[in-house]
Symmetry: C2
C-alpha cells in the first residue's frame, strides 16, 4: 500500500527488487516502525533472489551488504534493525552447504513468521490497551500507529479498532501531524474506514482539546524505547506528553517488544533523523509557503523522557514506572502474566 | 499589503469601500489584531464617504450599521471593537449640525491618530520587551505578531526588530503555525527581510527545541487579555505556554493596552472563532490531504490561563502576576513608570 498516495488513492506497489523496497522505505511509501521492519525482512529475501552467484561466499557478502544498506534507510526506528537481525540469525544458522534455493526458502519462512507474529502482537496490544480504557472515552492520538503501520491491528490504534468491534463508542481526536500529515492522510482515513467517531485537528489545537476535558487518554506509538523507558516517536510526541501531564490525562505509549532497544541506555543516544526542509517549506503542493532560502529545522522525531510516560503497553504486558527492570524482563525474561 | 499572497508576492490592495475592508478582514488579507483595528477604523471613514444621504439621521444609522457589521468580522480580537469604539466616541461627540465633510474629516483625523499611536505603542513594546532579553539569546515565537500585524514594529516581534538594530544577535525559532501558516508565510518573511537569524520549525518541533535548551524566552502576541490576565491568541499558544512552564523558559505575552478587555472577566468568556474545516483538510494547494467528509475541529484561537504567563508586556509597562490590579491600572490609571 503506497501510503504517500493516501487518502486520495489506494494504490499498491509490487516490488521485486531490494532497491525498490529500500526506496519505498526512504520515501515513506511504506512507513510505521513495524511495517518498515517487515518490508526490510522481505527485502533481504529479494536480495538473495537477485544475487547473481549462488555460492555461499557471494550470498554472505550480498546478505551483509544489503542488511547494512537497509538498516540505514531509516535510522530512528529500531524495528528495522531488529527484523534484519532476526533474518540474519536464520541466515547464519544455515549449513555452509545449503543451496541458494534453500537459503531463500528459509528466509521466506522467517519473513512470513515475522509478519504473522506482528499481527499477533497487534492483537495483544489491542487487548492490553483496551483494559486501560472505558467505553465512551475521548482519546487523542498523534501520527499513525495504525493497522497500516503494521501487519494488522496497529499499535496505539489497536485498542481503538478492538473497542470499535466491541461497541466502546470512543470519540477520537487525531492530530494532523505536520510535516507529513500522517494524522490527516492516514489515521483519519483508517479510522473513518473503520467507522470510528473521529475529529481531525491541527497539532496546535491539541492543547485546548486537552484543556476542555474531552480527552481521557492520549495513545501514541513509538519508534524506539531506550533501556530507561525514554521513547522516540514522531516529532510532536514530547509536546503532547508534556500537555497530558499538565492536564492530568494519562499518556500511554504502545511499544511492541521489537521497539525496545536495551542497548540504547537513554533517549540521548537515539539518533533523530533530520529530514528535508522542503517538507516544511512546500507542504504537498510544491508551491512554496515559506520564503526562499529560509533556514529550517525538520527533525522527524523527538524524545519523550520516561518520566512523562504513564505506562508502556507492550505485547508482553503493561509496564509502569520505574521502567528499567520491566523492560529487561519483557525482552529477556518470561512473558508477564 | 495582501498578506494571503505572502511570501510569494508583495501585493497591495486599494480598498475604497467598507465592504472591501470587511472582506479583507474576514479573508485574512489584513490580519493581526492591531492592524485589523486600524482597518476597521478606516472602513468607518469609507462608510461615511459612500453614505448617499448627508443628513445626520442617515449618517447615524449608517455609522451604527457599519460599526456592528465590522465588529462581527473577527469576533476574538478585541482591538477591532476597541478601535471602532474610539471612532464612535469622536462621531457621537460631534454637534448634530456638523456637515458630512466635517464628519469625514473628524473620523479621518482619528483614524490617522490611531495609526500613529499604534506605531508609538510598537516602539514602547520593543523597548519594554528588549529589557527582558539578553544579547545572543534564543527566542521562540508563534504566529505573526510582527510589524505587518500593526502600524509599525509589531508586538512580540517588536523587541526582535529593535534588538536587530542594536546588534543583540538573537537566534529566533518561528513556529510555522498551522493551519494558516502565519509563521512560515509571514514571520519568516518579515524576519528574513530584517536580516534576523531565523529557523522555521513545525509546531510539533517546538517541544524538542525547548527541551534542547536553545531557547531562553518565548514571545507571543495576543488577541485579547481578560481582566484576570487570561490570554486569547492563535491556536497553539496554550500548548507553547505549557511547554515553556515545563522547561522553565519564561513565557512573555505582548499586549498593547488596546487588547486588554476588562469587561471580559476571564478567558472562559472570550468567544473562540471556529474557522472552516478546509483550512485543515486542504492546506493551500486545494488538493485534499484528508479523506472526504472527515469531521474537523478548527478553532482559530486558544485561551492561555494567566497562571502560565510569566509577564504581560504592555505599552504602559510590564505586568507580573497577579495581573488583575495591574491590568486595571494600565487601562484606567496613570501610566506606569
Amino acid at each position: 500500500l503506497d501510503q504517500t498516495q493516501l487518502p486520495g488513492a489506494t494504490s499498491f506497489l509490487r516490488l521485486k527488487k531490494p532497491e525498490g523496497v529500500e526506496r519505498a522505505i526512504r520515501s515513506l511509501q511504506v512507513r510505521g516502525a513495524p511495517a518498515i521492519g517487515l518490508a526490510g525482512a522481505w527485502a533481504l529475501v529479494l536480495a538473495m533472489v537477485q544475487e547473481p552467484g549462488a555460492d555461499r561466499q557471494t550470498l554472505d557478502t550480498g546478505f551483509a551488504r544489503w542488511k547494512a544498506r537497509l538498516a540505514g534507510a531509516r535510522p530512528t526506528a529500531v524495528n528495522l534493525a531488529w527484523a534484519l537481525d532476526r533474518m540474519a540469525e536464520d541466515f547464519h544458522a544455515l549449513d555452509p552447504q545449503t543451496s541458494r534455493d534453500e537459503v531463500i526458502a528459509t528466509l521466506t519462512r522467517r519473513a512470513q513468521s515475522l509478519q504473522a507474529d506482528d499481527a499477533a502482537v497487534g492483537l495483544r496490544l489491542a487487548e492490553a490497551g483496551l483494559g486501560l480504557l472505558e467505553p465512551g472515552w475521548g482519546l487523542l492520538t498523534h501520527c499513525n500507529a495504525g493497522a497500516i503501520a503494521t501487519a494488522a491491528w496497529g499499535t496505539a490504534l489497536a485498542p481503538i479498532h478492538l473497542g470499535q468491534d466491541r461497541g466502546y463508542g470512543f470519540r477520537v481526536w487525531a492530530d494532523e501531524t505536520r510535516p507529513l500529515l500522517q494524522g490527516s492522510r492516514l489515521t483519519a482515513w483508517e479510522l473513518q474506514k473503520a467507522g470510528v467517531d473521529l475529529t481531525l485537528i491541527c497539532d496546535g489545537a491539541a492543547a485546548s482539546i486537552l484543556a476542555s476535558g474531552k480527552v481521557q487518554a492520549v495513545l501514541v506509538g513509538c519508534d524506539r524505547v531506550a533501556a530507561n523507558g525514554d521513547v522516540a516517536n514522531k516529532v510532536g510526541t514530547l509536546g503532547l506528553a508534556v500537555l497530558a501531564r499538565h492536564f492530568s490525562v494519562p499518556f500511554y505509549v504502545f511499544a511492541p517488544v521489537s521497539t525496545i532497544d536495551l542497548s540504547t541506555p537513554t533517549g540521548a543516544q537515539i539518533p533523530v533523523e533530520e529530514r528535508d526542509a522542503s517538507e516544511v517549506t512546500t507542504l504537498f503542493s510544491r508551491a512554496p509557503v515559506a520564503p526562499a532560502g529560509v533556514r529550517v529545522s525538520n527533525p522527524a522525531f523527538d524524545i519523550t523522557p520516561a518520566s512523562l510516560v504513564t505506562a508502556l503497553v507492550t505485547d508482553r504486558g503493561i509496564l509502569r514506572p520505574p521502567y528499567p527492570a520491566g523492560l529487561q524482563e519483557v525482552v529477556h525474561g518470561p512473558a508477564l502474566p
